[in-house]
């Protein structure tokens, strides 16, 4: 099946990229997620996936994404067939193509959720499948749509809208896939303003910024934490990757300047904003902040990942209309 705009048609659709989502599709997914979250948080049992089998086909390990999909499906009464590292299994190691592997597992299941290290693998899998949909759970430097969707939903859940928001993006803005996806998602909506703060060598590229501006995003680059706008609705913080630096001293200095501390929050953050992070973190958010109600990275952001996957799987399998 070709990758095209969903137009609210989830049933049977492959979910390969955030690019498939127009505004109505996003809002439909998010209102479904709201509903499922409400049921879950009030311990109302829902068995809508009962009788369905989803193959979790993970060509590379990812405990977080695997666990999130696994829990999402089982919480709705569905079950999974877990295939980890199939390339070490006999058939694939004997030279079987990805296409044949997909067709074998589609014979057993109603849905395949696939993680693969190679860009484009998800599209290849979707093209190979005769009967069932594929959800891309990350294909290398390609796409990881459910991660982008959970970030957007976390903003939607908090603010009730995805337009006229002001956000700060900090850390590695050059290489972070989640940053690019979230910016792309926000550029669908009107009136969003984005501040960018990163070490010189990890800045978002000029062509990228131009593109986002063309799509309607107001982009402001800042050079220091002192320029962080107090009115920001959210901070989206990311890990600065040590391996990108040749000058280690520069790395240490830069890294230290981009740590969220209680002091930084006190100076520059509103009481009503939220602090997001795609995880894992390795020191760029002081653990003292973990219990701050504004810190959503280890709580609602992670849980929202599960809720959005519950909604998405239910819609794709036609168990929610």
């Amino acid at each position: 099946m070709p990758k095209s705009t969903l137009k609210e048609q989830f049933l049977g659709s492959d979910i390969l990229s955030l690019d498939q989502f127009d505004i109505p599709s996003l809002l439909k997914l998010f209102s479904t997620t709201d509903h499922i979250r409400y049921l879950a948080q009030n311990s109302i049992p829902v068995d809508i996936l009962k009788g369905t089998i989803t193959t979790l086909l993970f060509y590379e390990p990812s405990s977080r994404t695997f666990g999130s999909f696994s829990a999402a499906i089982k919480r709705l009464g569905g079950d999974t067939v877990d295939i980890l590292n199939p390339q070490q299994f006999s058939s694939v190691s004997k030279g079987e193509t990805l296409e044949d592997t997909i067709r074998v597992f589609e014979a057993y299941s109603d849905l395949i959720v696939m993680r693969h290290p190679e860009k484009g693998a998800a599209q290849k899998a979707a093209d190979a499948a005769f009967f069932i949909p594929i959800i891309n759970a990350g294909d290398g430097v390609g796409e990881h749509p459910t991660q982008a969707l959970l970030d957007l939903y976390t903003l939607y859940e908090k603010f009730g809208r995805l337009d006229h928001l002001t956000g700060l993006f900090a850390g590695d803005l050059l290489n972070g896939r989640t940053v690019h996806s979230l910016l792309k998602g926000l550029s669908l909506f009107k009136g969003n303003t984005i501040y960018l703060l990163s070490p010189e060598i990890l800045k978002l590229t000029r062509p990228n910024i131009k593109l986002l501006e063309k799509r309607g995003l107001i982009v402001k680059e800042i050079r220091s934490e002192k320029e962080i706008p107090k009115k920001a609705d959210f901070w989206y913080w990311t890990r600065v990757q040590k391996e990108r630096f040749t000058d280690l001293a520069a790395y240490e200095k830069v890294k230290r300047s981009l740590v969220i501390t209680p002091e930084l929050l006190k100076k520059y953050a509103d009481m009503d904003m939220i602090i997001m992070h795609p995880l894992p973190r390795v020191g760029e958010i002081d653990t003292k902040i973990d219990k701050d109600p504004r810190a959503v990275y280890l709580r609602s952001q992670v849980r929202n990942g599960m809720f959005i996957r519950m909604a998405l799987v239910s819609l794709v399998l036609g168990k929610i209309k």
Copy 2:
């Protein structure tokens, strides 16, 4: 428990070898499979394995067999305990015997499905188990009964019988375990004719042919695709294993002569025959053929593997009489 003919007594029986199946047992299994397939294809939910636990004890990886059993059990409402590579786990690596490992897992489960690299391991496991049955999911160069059963069932499903069939076996007929099993199965029934086509060094051995003839099979060796009989009901194609050849040029030539192409089909195949392959394939069937309705290797053959396992597990656990 000793390996003996089933005589339609599935409840509590170990399933170790195709040799246990007489004609009535095969037909009972296949009519049960028909029934389960009908329910599945009409999305009629069946929960007959609810409350049962099957340990999938896989000493070597096999994504296909593992996935097929896992899906089969879960589709009927049962659940599995997945133990992959237990030899890397502490107890076995400390020198625990297979017998002790089996007795531990039988304490947790109602059934053990075991895959093991050593011939005879399944029988050893069955002898060790005090209370519960063992299903052999392949023990090295030994047996893999559910693979043979799915091949037989695929013929049964298509033709409504297993006698008076004409089949072509091509590829590696010397080493292919699935070929030997299917030939053995077909020799139980009357009036079956088999054509064999393979590179000289991969031919079925003379003693093997004699034995099959003695059991009633009509065996015809052919030397080229030109001798393929147009009336064949099925082609059973297998992978030619490169590693068996010392002369690589000979391999390339031979391999090329044994590829199913649209042209070959057009010339030598009936419209009502089916093309089977045990998978994985590595080029010996042109992918152009995948959508041909006669190509069952990636569709009903794989699905039948799941259905036959659904039926077998249900019968062995006494959930279907």
Copy 3:
């Protein structure tokens, strides 16, 4: 949450160490286990964990403990998210702390059962979790409370009490974690007498013996099997670890003197006693004894491990009061 005495308050409590159990808590757990065992042995279906998700977070492989928890939870209608070797997964390998990993998985699940190679890891995990309880499934040389509980319950099941028992402990009494835990558990109760038999270099240490005596246990060291008291209610046999010996001949001699044979049983064992072993065994119990009704190591002891985990998980999740 701090590690403290349970006082029969299982709901929401972390289960990290046998030290948390006072006598009323043990008896409550055991009577719950009795009940669950009765239902299971009479095939009465129980779905009390339906709708719950437990993450099995295993940082080191342990097929037995993993399988036992997996089966326990699924037999009660619950489901699991299986995360094996997360340290090989991307997030942890990128330097994520144990604390962050725990907080991610608690967002997906109602309970985390964790196995970890480092002593103290279970307490760290419990301190990190905001909302859900942790069950320690072994943290290196630290604790493995469910193993100790299943040993105690096996005695309780057989004798209807945990006081005024006489037991023989044999094998490696220096390094065996299960020995230490069971002795600690027995020392909670009155009138228990313990005989210790081990190679000189594998003896329980003097300070350890002093401590147990102070807690009320009557401890008697013996030097040879000839001193085994015929009135012993149970034998708790363990593996002598070859790697502890430098003189291999000495090991062979000692090892041979500590094997349970039919002859040894005939001479020194009562008909009403039971033979226990934490498994795996590597020759120290003659397999001829496996079918002796007194041999519980491969039957009720292993099954009791599952039953005790069924009871414990149900109590901690508040599904049984």
